[in-house]
Amino acid sequence: MKKIFLLAAALITVVFVSGHVHAMTADEIMKKSQAAFLYPGADLKARVMMKLVSKGGQERVREMMMLRKNYGQPGGEQKYFMYFFQPADVRNMTFMVYKYPGKDADRWLFVPAINMVRRIAAQDKRSSFVGSDFTYEDISGRNLEDDTHAVVKDEKIGDCDCTVIKSTPKAAEMEYSYKLSWIDKGTFLPIKEEYYDKKGELYRVFSADEIKDVKGHPTIIKRSMKNLLSGHMTEVSFLKAEYNVGIEDSLFTERYLKQPPKRWIE
């Protein structure tokens, strides 16, 4: 009798919980996912290792400190500051991005060898980030309003219960026709993303390979993006990550771009 009761309770819970998730619209899920994936904490300091692997197995490494600060709500403005350690000859190179919702980002690059800061006009958000398989958009996120989102199905990936969302860009000139995201129902982190090209064929796959709790925020500390057409792959791992470290606004200026404060790059 007790067993039956427990079973019934469990069933009710399952029905209730899953019913609850289903009650969320695709837009809501994507919004929560964006917040969990790109906006946790007031700020973030992460030492990032990027491995670019060619089809033939050749590797290029980029290592950088990434500092991010949120301004306003998830989905709102953000500022990024990046300092490169590797490759050796770009040490001291810095890169800064002001990200605005619904508007092109501003980017600046400091080239230490000629002691020069240059603004970079972002004509193409889809272009590769430092030669990797990630685009600028993959790093800083895509404006949710630019796509229409729809729930496709529920699916389990490994141990994660996921909702699969199909996001179709509203603009016709996007390089992909749609994206499928597997959003973990618990953490709302994207566990997997598949990009389909104009011919309707799968060509890029994102996967979250390792998730760890950092100060109460589930964080993807290892991720990869694979281009199925070129066979090229990029692995990104956070060697160290910390939230709410108190990054001051003044960091995101041309002055510090040229001479980043030691404490932020150690």
Binding site: L52, S54, K55, G56, Q58, E59, R60, F84, P87, A88, D89, V90, M93, F95, L109, V111, P112, A113, I114, M116, R118, R119, I120, A121, Q123, D124, S127, S128, F129, V130, G131, S132, E175, D197, K198, K199, L229, S230, H232
Partner: protein, 766 residues
């Protein structure tokens, strides 16, 4: 006496033999639907050859595509107007949607990376997003194009009249389908522009289609021509049909076997049917003799057996010699040549077996009255025979003069041979005026060059390529190479570094140079990698920056063009010592290596064929002396033809070189028939003088020789109208070789035998 029994068995069981032949033929025919062609020039050499392994490695290291279609767009009024550029944009958009196209690396106005500077802002993006509409916008575009050396001669010609869209294919992409879709896309555009679809995949498809044309149209026409000529010669439909069937059976068997074993058909093997039809004509000696014998014996069975008795040895040995001529090709390095050699050698052996079974069996089906009618018209004194007698008579009466004229001709020919240029040019395998040739010519004239070679600079230290020292060295090498008349354009990682340097310094042309230190170079390259497509950098530098890939666009497909590039690299390296080594690669280099292989194959093949043919002659005649005599007209013919090739200035290419072995194997037939029949005659009619015996030989088997040569020539003359130049070359070669060697045999053998009779017959019973 085993062979004898085959003939008798066939005569006694003709129906069985014919039925068996037909069943076997049908069996081989079942393999035909599996046919596939291989038109990729790469497969001329085995995948394990050094050059292919090296090229594969370079392709992998630098992420290069194996196949690329190039769409050239030309407007006599210039392409820099909003209308034409709008078309470029629309066409590019459509091309990006085609399945099998590596869309991410298509280069066109709307996809090529352009790094520019405006005030303090660095702009990175495609060269064109929308076609410029105002004059001002167009002026900006013009400036962006002509100030960037990376664009000139690539997507814009210097005169502004030509652009190109480069369409790389994914591995396994269907070149033909993609090219057809591109043709459909351009069909929907109207206006003054002319379009050229070019590139390896297009050339290969055209080639494949032309190959089928040869096999499905030209080979049957050659067959019909032979049928007709044979009919006119013998006025005998039965004989003509039998020989035709004989040839068809051998073709079906050998092609069926080839296909069944899983071999693709290459350019050379596509010619095999014509060769086999021609080789089948050798059986004509059997008919020739049969009709003579029938007149003497008046009994069909006896005539058949007597005929086979008389001709079996020469027929057997000529087949052996022909098979040997083709068989030596099996020892070559070039795969299509190897396959072709094996294929025709097999076909020749099939033909020989048929000569002793199928043909005698067929004789039994003809009515006696009919044979009588035909054999009556066969008179050794009539028609052609008297001409042959005159010809032989000339040799007999004036042997010294005849031989002297020959010697003079040989000397002249040797001078011609010394002028031979070994060269293969794959584009010139297409006829002048063909789409492929025209597109190639136009693109070579307007843009950087369609034949691509690579020079890979290799250092032993990571990041060495990023040093100013390496950069300046490569830049200097590029300028040196660009001085060569065959080089249209070179591109390397240095060009990108220089471009970024200039752009970072507010587009000041002063900075269009290699930066002064390694940090700058490293950071510029990083900046470039941050902004451009990853493949742009991958194509020119490897990951650890140990190697740099210099693209060398050549304006000609001549194999020797790459040779001059390599020589210039060596020379530059000698003048400027460096730790880097330079390795050539790419299709242009492949052509060069292949070209050398062709030459060495030819030398090797010719030596092998000379030995094999001599051995067969010596074995057949049981005499070294006779073998030597039989050899001379043969060599004479070949030397003369190659002399003419040298004088005319025709490139000594693969088809020509293959011919050297084959012609030995085929032309030797005539010498074998002539000498063996002469000696047989002398044995049969002991009282006859040498001169009379020679005249008889020239008239009777000589007629067979002449007919054989004419039939051969008739079949191959059809190839003169074929769609690809190698076919034309082979056609012309065989026609002249056959006629010349028949003439040589009938004129020179009597002259030589007369001149050397003392030596020849020493020790023999006269």
């Amino acid at each position: 006496m085993k062979k004898f029994s085959l003939v008798e068995f066939s005569v006694d069981h003709p129906k069985l033999i014919v039925a068996l032949s037909i069943i076997l033929t049908l069996l081989f025919l079942t393999q035909f639907p599996k046919v596939r062609t291989d038109t990729n020039p790469k497969n001329m050499l085995p995948p394990t050859s050094d050059v292919r392994v090296g090229n594969d490695e370079v392709e992998k290291t630098f992420g290069l595509y194996e196949d690329m279609i190039v769409l050239g767009i030309q407007n006599e009024k210039g392409i820099l107007n909003s209308d034409t550029l709008g078309k470029v944009q629309r066409i590019t958009d459509e091309i990006l949607k085609i399945k099998g196209v590596a869309a991410r690396d298509v280069s066109s106005f709307t996809t090529i990376d352009n790094v520019t500077v405006e005030g303090e802002t660095l702009k990175v993006g495609p060269l064109m997003i929308m076609a410029p509409k105002t004059d001002k916008e167009m002026a900006v575009m013009r400036k962006a194009l002509f100030e960037n050396p990376l664009f000139i001669d690539r997507i814009i010609s210097k005169d502004g009249k030509t652009t190109a869209i480069y369409v790389p294919l994914e591995k396994g992409g269907n070149g033909k389908e993609i090219a057809d879709k591109i043709r459909e896309i351009i069909k929907t555009e109207k206006g003054d522009e002319t379009y050229y679809v070019a590139g390896d995949p297009v050339a290969r498809d055209t080639f494949g289609a032309d190959m089928f044309k040869l096999m499905a149209v030209f080979a049957p026409i050659a067959g019909m021509v032979m049928l007709l000529v044979r009919f006119l010669m013998f006025k005998d439909l039965f004989l003509s049909m039998t020989l035709m069937m004989d040839a068809m059976i051998s073709i079906v068997w050998s092609m069926g076997l080839l296909i069944g074993l899983g071999f693709p058909i290459h350019i050379m093997s596509s010619m095999a049917p014509v060769f086999m039809m021609a080789i089948a004509t050798d059986s004509m000696h059997i008919f020739n003799e049969f009709y003579f014998r029938y007149r003497e014996k008046k009994d069909k069975r006896a005539a058949i057996i007597a005929t086979m008795n008389a001709v079996s040895r020469p027929v057997r040995n000529t087949a052996l010699a022909t098979a040997a001529g083709f068989g030596v090709l099996l020892f070559m390095n070039i795969i299509p040549v190897k396959v072709f050699g094996g294929l025709v050698a097999f076909g020749t052996i099939v033909l020989r077996v048929l000569s002793f079974s199928f043909i005698p069996a067929m004789f039994t089906f003809v009515k006696d009255e009919k044979i009588e009618k035909i054999s009556r018209s066969e008179d050794s004194e009539a028609g052609g025979s008297s001409f042959l007698k005159k010809l032989a008579g000339l040799g007999i009466r004036k042997p010294a003069t005849t031989v002297l004229v020959g010697v003079v001709l040989v000397v002249a020919a040797i001078i011609g041979i010394s002028k031979t240029v070994v060269n293969n040019n794959l584009v010139e395998w297409f006829k002048k005026g063909s789409d492929v040739r025209v597109a190639d010519t136009v693109m070579n004239k307007a843009l950087g060059g369609t034949s691509l070679g690579y020079i890979v600079a290799i250092s032993d230290k990571d990041d060495y390529i990023k040093t100013p020292e390496a950069m300046r060295y490569i830049e200097g090498l590029q300028r040196r190479l660009e001085k060569l008349p065959v080089v249209g354009k070179t591109t390397s990682v240095v060009d990108y570094v220089k471009r970024i340097n200039r752009v970072l310094h507010n587009d000041d042309p002063k900075y269009d140079a290699v930066p002064e230190n390694k940090e700058m170079i490293g950071q510029y390259l990083f900046l470039f990698a941050m902004s451009a497509k990853p493949s742009d950098l991958d194509n020119v530098a490897d990951y650890p920056f140990r190697k740099a890939n210099i693209w060398v666009q050549l304006k000609t497909w001549d194999a020797k063009a790459m040779e001059s590039v390599i020589a210039a690299v060596d020379e530059y390296r000698k003048e400027n010592p460096t730790l880097m080594v330079f390795k050539p690669a790419g299709i242009a280099y492949f052509n060069l290596v292949w070209n050398h292989e062709v030459l060495w194959d030819m030398v090797k093949g010719l030596i092998l064929a000379l030995i094999a043919v001599f051995a067969i002659l010596a074995y057949d005649f049981r005499s070294i002396k006779w073998a030597l005599i039989g050899y001379i007209p043969l060599l004479f013919t070949i030397i003369l033809i190659y002399g003419v090739v040298g004088f005319v200035g025709k490139d000594f290419d693969m088809p020509i070189s293959v011919m050297s072995c084959l012609s030995l194997g085929m032309a030797v037939d005539f010498a074998i028939h002539f000498v063996s029949r002469l000696r047989q005659r002398m044995k049969e009619t002991p009282g006859e003088s040498l001169a009379d015996a020679l005249l008889w030989t020239a008239a009777r088997p000589g007629k067979g020789i002449m007919r054989n040569a004419i039939l051969f020539a008739a079949a191959f003359a059809v190839m003169l109208f074929a769609p690809l130049t190698p076919y034309i070359t082979v056609g012309a070669f065989i026609v002249s070789m056959m006629l010349l060697s028949a003439l040589m045999t009938i004129l020179y053998l009597p002259a030589l035998i007369t001149l050397t009779q003392g030596w020849l017959f020493k020790g023999e019973v006269r």
